[in-house]
Symmetry: C2
Subunit: 297 residues, 2 copies
């Protein structure tokens, strides 16, 4: 038993990653668990953490979730289409088993926190983290804090102008051709008839993908003015996207944001995750640390 560790849960729609580690992001132990129902998945999560004497646990969860500390459903997963998890009291389920502080936020906010603390935006008080994969999501650190307001952001569903040559109708069940509906992995597969990974050498696929991602980044930049943008997720493994996105963002802005980070050094402004695939699980450790320190205040 070692009491110097934090626990972290990255709760995704297909798998949970649970880890034990420290505030430097060093992982001592981790496990992957398939996302089934809470009755099947959660006991495995709890069994894993029972091997350790933890100081706190941080949860980065798929959403939508309730992060309003004054709400009676604070710590719940709320109106998710994954029915077994709808209205699930995630935070309470952990707190009932472990009498320690628990931090709770979205998976993408956790990833933004990880990148801002230990990753590609280390040392900055502002960072936008975007994942483009089976869906599109984003989290942000603004003026040193995870962005929240009425609720957490849902940036993957913003509207963007369609490319005039793109006849694909879009795949979002809510908004059809919002960003996620046009640019997430399933949209790529539906539009081109193959998975993105099988289309790596098709230039037109990535030109169009970069166009839509650049349109979204333009909105995020004009609205949030992040100090760095980190692009992760399965689709962004296609590294040829980065230079295309850099150029398209500059073309779309057309000199409007006359700031050196954008006009001269955009390669250092829009970057891959510094933590690779560990942004979310690392962010969970930082969420745990923040929960621990908040309780001690």
């Amino acid at each position: 038993m070692n009491s110097m560790y934090y626990g972290s849960i990255e709760a995704g729609g297909t798998k949970f990653v649970c880890a034990v580690g420290n505030e430097k992001g060093e992982i001592k132990d981790s496990i992957q668990i398939k996302t089934e129902t809470p009755e099947i998945t959660m006991p495995q999560v709890i069994d894993f953490f029972k091997n350790y004497d933890l100081m706190a646990i941080g949860i980065g969860s798929f959403g939508p979730i309730d992060i309003n500390v004054d709400s009676p459903t604070y710590g719940f997963i709320t109106s998710t289409p994954k029915l077994p998890w709808r209205n699930y009291p995630f935070m309470k389920a952990i707190k009932d088993e472990f009498d320690i502080p628990v931090g709770f936020n979205t998976d993408v906010n956790a990833a933004a926190l990880g990148e801002a603390t230990l990753g590609a935006a280390k040392g900055l008080d502002s960072c936008l983290y975007i994942t483009v994969g089976t869906g599109v999501g984003a989290g942000a650190v603004v003026q040193g804090q995870l962005l929240s307001g009425l609720s957490h952001p849902e940036m993957g569903h913003i509207l963007i102008p369609r490319h005039p040559d793109d006849a694909y109708s879009g795949k979002c069940p809510y908004h059809q051709d919002c960003l996620e509906g046009l640019a997430a992995g399933p949209a790529i597969e539906a539009r081109w008839g193959k998975k993105g990974i099988e289309l790596a050498d098709k230039k037109e696929v990535w030109e169009l993908e970069a166009h839509y991602i650049a349109e979204a980044l333009m909105q995020y930049m004009l609205i949030l003015s992040p100090k760095r943008i980190v692009l992760g997720g399965g689709v962004m493994k296609q590294k040829q996207l980065f230079p295309l996105i850099h150029k398209k963002v500059q073309t779309l802005l057309n000199g409007y944001l006359n700031i050196p980070e954008v006009t001269e050094n955009i390669e250092q402004y829009i970057v891959p995750p510094g933590l690779g695939d560990h942004a979310g699980i690392t962010g969970g450790l930082i969420l745990a640390k923040e929960a621990y320190e908040t309780v001690r205040l």
Copy 2:
């Protein structure tokens, strides 16, 4: 002479409003000055304030401006198309005359601060203020602070999907058919051949205008999650826009933000300014107060 007052400057592209008042937003004296060159306009600004013994002055300025306190051009108006004001050291010009703390931010951030402190979002730590007039601009209070990052937001120039029935090409010199290019006052006049105020009874004008504003609000809501949205500016004097916007925002979101403020009480969520046309000048007084208190810490 009375030393219990703050000074406030709302620096717009056509006029400057200068006021002297207190932190409750009570105005003791004010003046309007035409925006010409700094050489003509600024001495009038300075003469006005010289009548008072002020604690601090707050400036809400047209932009773009430099609000990065670590920058050598902090307090400057930067790359504005209004050439006489380009690279103008606004904050220094005031500080050189008055040896008191000076707060400096954008006109729309000042208005957001005014509405969050004393207006329609009073008591909330989060507020988005949007002006739709000769241009479109927005400022935001997020987690109790004016939003900033790499720079201040430039939300008026986001991209939005075009309405399929709108053939107007757009009026923005940078982006053609961005939000400002499609929905600001000059775009209304260019599209319909008359000023908005002369088109008050034309239902199709306001249906289209509400459509574009609702598309923009959807982006702002998904990205920033503000606790209240305040819509001001000349175009928003057409009060028939509000119910149209409420309905269109709900239609566009299609149930995606399942939050009572959006699904049930949107009339109390998207609202006109509580301070009428005084949001900006009131926000300047609050900027002054914050500058005063920061220096005293």
